[in-house]
């Protein structure tokens, strides 16, 4: 990353777009707290806290959620069991009311219905044997049950057909409130037809080179990324 300045307020949806290699995934990973990245300068403040001081699981308990581009399979851990553990951990930290076993299952099933996932997947190992679309919907399910304040969707739309995309977008839209925020990282504009962003930023060479509203996304759809790259080159040669 070569210098990012970004402010995301509650209730907002920010889309991060850009050509491959521009730094979109790096941004997602750094926000989530993945190891292997060194911050050489700058800070990330989340709800008044210095985010860089928190480990990945601390950040999750503080209400940050990352929907992965490539969700992995964890054989031997049932989806239901996994969700129960994580919901309990996050709710406990946030001092939310503890859910009984029955309440937990009802809650999970309700959210599952929202992303159109069948009940039977709950007993299966996490993501094992799931199609790409099912894995992405499972990410949104986790988002739904963990109720994060900040959700970072890392190319959630990649590999999805239009129907799966609509289900994912629908889920996200249902979960939007004035108290939470979304950073939607995407390469294609398509997703943004369904998840209408408040702001669109273009990430190129590790910097946000252009910001705008949803119309910027439409312009990118029409013209591609080349015109942005040209603009940036012109600016740097002046």
């Amino acid at each position: 990353m070569n210098g990012i300045n970004l402010q995301v307020n509650a209730g907002e949806v920010h889309a991060i777009m850009g050509p491959n290699g521009g730094g979109k995934s790096t941004l997602a990973h750094v926000l989530a707290g993945r190891e292997g990245y060194k911050i050489t300068d700058g800070s990330i403040t989340y709800m008044g806290k210095d985010l860089l001081e928190l480990s990945v699981d601390e950040r999750a308990r503080e209400g940050i959620f990352q929907a992965f581009q490539y969700p992995i399979e964890i054989p031997g851990v049932s989806t239901a069991n996994f969700l129960k553990h994580t919901i309990t951990a996050v709710r406990k930290h946030q001092k939310k009311k503890e859910l009984s076993a029955k309440e937990m299952i009802t809650f999970i099933k309700e959210m599952a219905k929202m992303v159109e996932m069948e009940d039977n997947f709950l007993s299966r190992s996490l993501n094992q044997g799931f199609s790409g679309g099912e894995k992405k919907r499972n990410e949104i399910l986790q988002l739904a049950v963990l109720e994060p304040k900040l959700a970072v969707l890392d190319e959630t739309d990649s590999g999805l057909d239009i129907d799966a995309l609509k289900i994912v977008a629908n889920g996200v839209n249902k979960l939007r409130t004035k108290d939470n925020a979304f950073i939607v990282i995407t390469h294609y504009q398509r997703l943004l037809d369904y998840i209408i962003p408040d702001f669109v930023h273009v990430l190129y060479n590790g910097q946000i080179v252009k910001s705008g509203d949803k119309n910027l996304a439409l312009k990118l759809e029409e013209k591609g990324y080349d015109w942005i790259k040209e603009e940036v080159e012109e600016l740097t040669t002046i």
């Binding site: 707290g33 699981d57 999750a60 969700p71 992995i72 964890i74 996994f82 553990h85 994580t86 951990a89």
Partner: protein, 457 residues
């Protein structure tokens, strides 16, 4: 002949001073024990016991590292204590209740320090369906069990080269003989609960079982081993099982070992399988300082199925060694082995799976897998498959992996708010699900999973 024994013969003529001392200690213990027999010296069992103990001054020695089969497992510490015969201990229903399976009706046989506890057991009920008899009375009385019991015990006493089997033959007092008659499908599992208790002196406990399952019969046995009150005491459980599955019989055999942290546990289980019989073994090793299991199945006819499943969880300085042997001597037999373990701290695990496929054993299917997680720098695992295949129309495979937890899985779980420790615990449990998931008695599976989880904490 059992290949394990063959190897012992060629290597045991080494009279190192320590090894002679160990033999002496047990010989002396036997002398003391004889004095407590109170006039029972003339009974048939005693002659056999004397024959056995005399072998320790003749041709039977405890193994050293130079024995191939004991290369990774050192028994010096096990042989070190001056063992005593265990004393009789009176325990109550409350004492044993934590060791029972909630929600499972069983025929319960309770042994305390190797001695049968009549009041806590339901032997009478079981006797209505099968023959249950203590081995000394099998040998003493002229009944249907005498010949078989004599045959096995005499063989162990005079021909067996495995020192631990010989030791067991010398010291077992309350061996048990179970015979399931032809065509009997037992309605409940038999739970053989072994409790160890000693206050100050180290004791040697010698459980002994002969189990015969008749034609077309079905039996489930769950053996469990626990110390009373989480004892820190030193004791040595040296157990021997001889199992015979007659034609078309089915035997599900569970062994859950949760001995004390300073206990030594040696298990020798030999199975003989007749035509089309099915033997499934589930061994769970959680406790004990030094654990060594020898499990073998000799296939004596075609069409048999043999399943060996095992879990070992080693922590601190535990040493858990599983040796298995399957002798495919007839065609169309299937065997499947899966052992999985997790080793942390300075624990050491060993797995040696031998499979012999003899020239006539065409259409054999023999599969073996051993997977271990070694989660700390000082922990280690030695895994050795040994397949000797002399038939040419067979399907055999073996595979072993030794690794760590998947970093991506850990990260994923942490990114959902689980602490590192919680995530590690869940992944460790998940690793063993492949085997716990095979336990088809729900209360047993639940208890095993709970015991494993408690161990992780």
């Amino acid at each position: 002949m059992n290949i394990l024994n063959k190897k012992n013969i060629s290597m045991t003529n080494i009279n190192t001073p320590d090894k002679k001392d160990s033999n002496e200690k047990f010989i002396e213990l036997f002398r003391l024990y004889q004095n407590t027999l109170n006039g029972r010296k003339n009974y048939a069992g005693h002659t056999i016991q004397k024959t056995a103990i005399q072998r320790l001054s003749k041709d039977v020695y405890f193994p050293t590292r130079r024995n191939e089969d004991w290369k990774y497992t050192n028994v010096t510490e096990l042989l070190q204590p001056q063992y005593h015969q265990p004393k009789f201990v009176d325990i109550t229903t409350a004492d044993i209740s934590p060791f029972l399976f909630e929600g499972l009706d069983t025929y319960l046989l309770v042994f305390v320090n190797g001695k049968y506890d009549k009041t806590l057991s339901s032997k009478d009920e079981l006797s209505k369906k099968v023959i249950v008899q203590d081995i000394p009375s099998c040998l003493q009385e002229d009944g249907p069990t005498k010949a078989i019991a004599s045959e096995y015990l005499t063989k162990w006493a005079s021909k067996e080269m495995n020192p631990f089997i010989v030791l067991n033959t010398a010291f077992a007092q309350n061996g048990i003989f179970i015979y399931v008659p032809d065509g009997v499908v037992l309605d409940r599992p038999v739970h053989i609960l072994n409790i160890a208790f000693t206050k100050d002196e180290p004791v040697v406990i010698s459980p002994q079982k002969i189990i015969i399952i008749g034609e077309n019969s079905k039996l489930t046995v769950i053996e469990t081993y626990h110390p009373l009150n989480n004892s820190q005491q030193t004791y040595f459980t040296n157990t021997v099982n001889q199992l015979l599955l007659e034609r078309n019989s089915v035997f599900d055999h569970y062994r859950i070992q949760d001995e004390g942290e300073n206990a030594f546990f040696i298990n020798n289980t030999e199975v003989e399988q007749m035509r089309e019989s099915t033997y499934s073994s589930y061994v769970i090793d959680l406790g004990g300082k030094l654990v060594r299991n020898n499990l073998s199945s000799i296939l004596k006819d075609s069409g048999t199925t043999t399943n060996f499943y095992g879990i070992y969880v080693g922590m601190d300085k535990q040493h858990i060694d599983n040796q298995t042997f399957i002798d495919h001597a007839y065609p169309n037999c299937k065997s499947n082995e899966l052992y999985k373990g997790i080793l942390t701290d300075s624990a050491k695990g060993v797995f040696n799976g031998k499979i012999m496929v003899r020239p006539d054993a065409q259409k054999t299917n023999a599969f073996q897998k051993n997977h271990s997680l070694v989660l700390s720098k000082s922990a280690s695992m030695n895994s050795k498959p040994q397949l000797e295949i002399f038939a040419d129309d067979v399907k055999c495979s073996h595979g072993a992996t030794i690794g760590q937890l998947n970093e991506d899985s850990l990260y994923y779980m942490r990114s959902r708010g689980l602490s590192k420790n919680e995530a590690i615990s869940i992944l460790k449990q998940a690793f063993l699900t492949e085997i716990t998931g095979l336990i088809n008695i729900e209360p047993v599976r639940e208890k095993v999973e709970q015991m494993i989880q408690n161990k992780f904490k």
